[in-house]
Symmetry: C2
Subunit: 438 residues, 2 copies
């Protein structure tokens, strides 16, 4: 039996299998536990944690996605972190391979709402938290991710702490204690991928950050350096780490966060560069689908195993089909909405006809984020377009793409209402901003 099966067996052991002797010791442990707890109940640390948790319980200070009542900040951060990562459609940062918003905005907005900050202060706290998460993630390095840790959760918890701590107004020493405390609290494994546990990891990051910052604010202390010190988080969670280079070129000289990537299409990430290239080609040259003789897509060979389904049978399979997606984009179908990926795409004759004229080939020299398209038109002319996801999209175009994505996800009216609040973020309060969660 495996370890988890043995644990399950223990958990479900019949009462009659418990020996009198073991019960007796457990009873003595109960007595011993209660006397230790009562004797320690007036220690400084006991007063701080009991007071914080008691005040926090039932406090209605922070909004949650889809919820009618407000919750305590830590609780709201857990809920929002999890919910906002449910679709896995949120922003990503490749510096540490993690999702920044889900863990860090969930912490920042919950605390911002509690302390009645301005929305712009929430945004700035998020930004510095995200910057911190990227950089501590770089300290932990690729090996940390390869070992099985989920940077969204682990590096994310440090980012959430930075954001929450800034909004709680922590002084320098409190910030140090908050970071050292979250070092003993941060967790999150990649083995949760593909399950509810993955979005939960983002909630973990957010709630850990709020808790650590709130405790430090109230005088809860920790070791001097739980992060990079002996037996700190870095040393215990990364075989190889780098405490130097990630801290070169600090803000304002350089914000690593600026390289954040938005998911603009509700399909496999391995198809996004192709979609962008094809959209650019169509925007620039305005060809008609009838004029397309054939399209050649070139991608790194690793993607051929992931998203090259030739004859998708379901909407889900379309998300992993270069040929079908190329046909959709050539037809001007918007790919940013989850809802578009219905099964009847697979039986659409126009799409099937064009998809049959799309050829996918691979090129070892391409990086993971680059794809190109070559469109041969019936008049003999050829259009060539290449896109790297790392290429900066002009800000106006990015805004437009996100607003289109929003319309697909939450409807036109809601999207425009939300955009209006975001556009006036410098004037809005966190409370006003938080009203947009539902």
């Amino acid at each position: 039996m495996s370890t988890i099966e043995n644990l399950i067996q223990l958990a479900r052991l019949p009462n009659k299998a418990i020996t009198a002797n073991a019960r007796h010791y457990a009873t003595l442990s109960l007595f011993d536990w209660i006397i230790c707890g009562r004797a320690g109940a007036s220690e400084d640390l006991s007063n701080i944690i009991r007071k914080y948790v008691t005040e926090d319980a039932g406090r209605k200070s922070a909004s949650v996605f889809g919820g009618k009542v407000k919750l305590p900040a830590r609780a709201a951060a857990l809920v929002n972190g999890t919910i906002s990562h449910a679709l896995d459609y949120d922003d990503t940062h490749f510096a540490h391979i993690g999702h920044t918003s889900v863990g860090i905005y969930s912490a920042a907005l919950a605390v911002g709402e509690e302390v009645k900050a301005m929305a712009s202060e929430v945004r700035d706290a998020y930004l510095l938290g995200a910057e911190a998460a990227c950089r501590i993630g770089m300290v932990l390095g690729r090996g940390h991710y390869q070992q099985g840790f989920h940077q969204t959760a682990t590096a994310g918890a440090f980012g959430a702490t930075v954001a929450a701590g800034r909004l709680y107004g922590l002084n320098e020493l409190q910030t140090r204690h908050a970071l050292s405390l979250v070092a003993t609290r941060a967790s999150g494994l990649k083995s949760q991928f593909g399950t509810m546990g993955k979005p939960f990891n983002a909630g973990i990051a957010a709630s850990n950050g709020v808790e650590a910052a709130a405790l430090a604010k109230r005088g809860f202390t920790s070791c001097d350096d739980g992060v990079g010190g002996p037996q700190g988080f870095v040393e215990t969670h990364a075989e190889v780490f780098d405490h130097e280079s990630p801290w070169q070129h600090m803000p304002p000289k350089r914000f690593i966060f600026d390289d954040v990537q938005y998911k603009l299409h509700a399909c496999c990430h391995g198809t996004h560069a192709m979609i962008e290239a094809l959209r650019s080609a169509k925007n620039q040259h305005g060809f008609l689908t009838n004029d397309v003789q054939h399209i050649t897509v070139i991608t790194h060979p690793r993607w051929l195993k992931v998203c090259d389904i030739k004859h998708p049978r379901t909407g889900l399979e379309v998300k992993f089909s270069y040929v079908h997606l190329a046909a959709m984009v050539a037809h001007g179908i918007e790919t940013s909405s989850e809802k578009i990926f219905r099964d009847d795409l697979c039986t659409d004759e126009n799409l099937i006809a064009l998809a049959s004229r799309v050829k996918v080939s691979s090129d070892e020299s391409f990086n993971d984020t680059t794809q190109s398209v070559l469109i041969k038109l019936s008049n003999g002319s050829e259009i060539h377009q290449r896109h790297d996801l790392y290429d900066k999209i002009p800000m106006a175009q990015l805004e437009e793409s996100l607003r289109t994505k929003a319309k697909g996800l939450i409807g036109k009216v809601n999207a425009e209402k939300l955009w209006a609040v975001i556009a006036k973020i410098e004037q809005a309060s966190a409370v006003e901003l938080a009203k947009q969660l539902s």
Copy 2:
């Protein structure tokens, strides 16, 4: 600068150092985060976590040490785990080097009170949780502890999950999901030792267990094996591990928990075997201190660097002084109470006189938990007594010692009142039991 100092600098970056570009991206991320959260707000996992956390917030179901109001179960577990470990005077288990009660009783009683279980069910759930913690701790092994992980927190979280899950009545599949979920949540570092972070680690274990079990009960799922599977907790947190031998001789054949160790003296653990040996000698032979010519204490050499202060100047130093403690025990002074270790012990002439006749020597062949005393009386006779902390203390003597410890810690009246409830545990409800926390 160290990584934590760089993080502190980032967290406290002046507003004016934030670039317009970075702010713009952070604003777009805010927009993107909200649309992702709103679009995902009705997913199954979103409904489960929002409903659980919302119902839990403000629920007054579980008592806390020294508190007047009841708290949600997860919150109470966090508070009680932390508080009961504040004095570091609670039980220990050497199978995995961890404290079992603080993490696991804190989870079990909080849930037991919430679901209105019997006190005996809380006790049995604790027992199986503690048994699970010891065994998963043995899977993780000594290396896990050496690497810097605090088994009280890490293995403890699995134990707390087993206990909470049993009281929530999880079925087999829910138990699996709870264990796999806590695998992505469990954390705790030894670098917190000597700070408020150490007791906090016990609170972490307790609250993680309650949360994982509560979510699994409501249908929140995880990967099939977050514990021993690929990139599960064991593989990511131990360089060497053993999924086989810790599971031999399962209950009812063998309860590893039976080897639990109680701290019976409020001084350094390295002096406890000496104290027990000297107490036994005094009980059996009833010598007077005036008749003592000299006492020789023999211990493993490692302890000489820890608790061999020859001339203690404070009550705290007495806790680390073989000679002074030997004099106290020979004088019949009870060492189970924190309060006895006052500075004036150091100036007590009778104690100083006897302490000057105590010699401490070391023997490499002794194990860590064994010490012996040789008492030479003025009539020429010699008393020799040896004690190993692993030796089973007869149950009646152990009870007596714990009741004495209780009197020292919470006063005679409280101690006897508590003992009366514990003695009738088979008849009591968890709610009645929980009244004893204050």
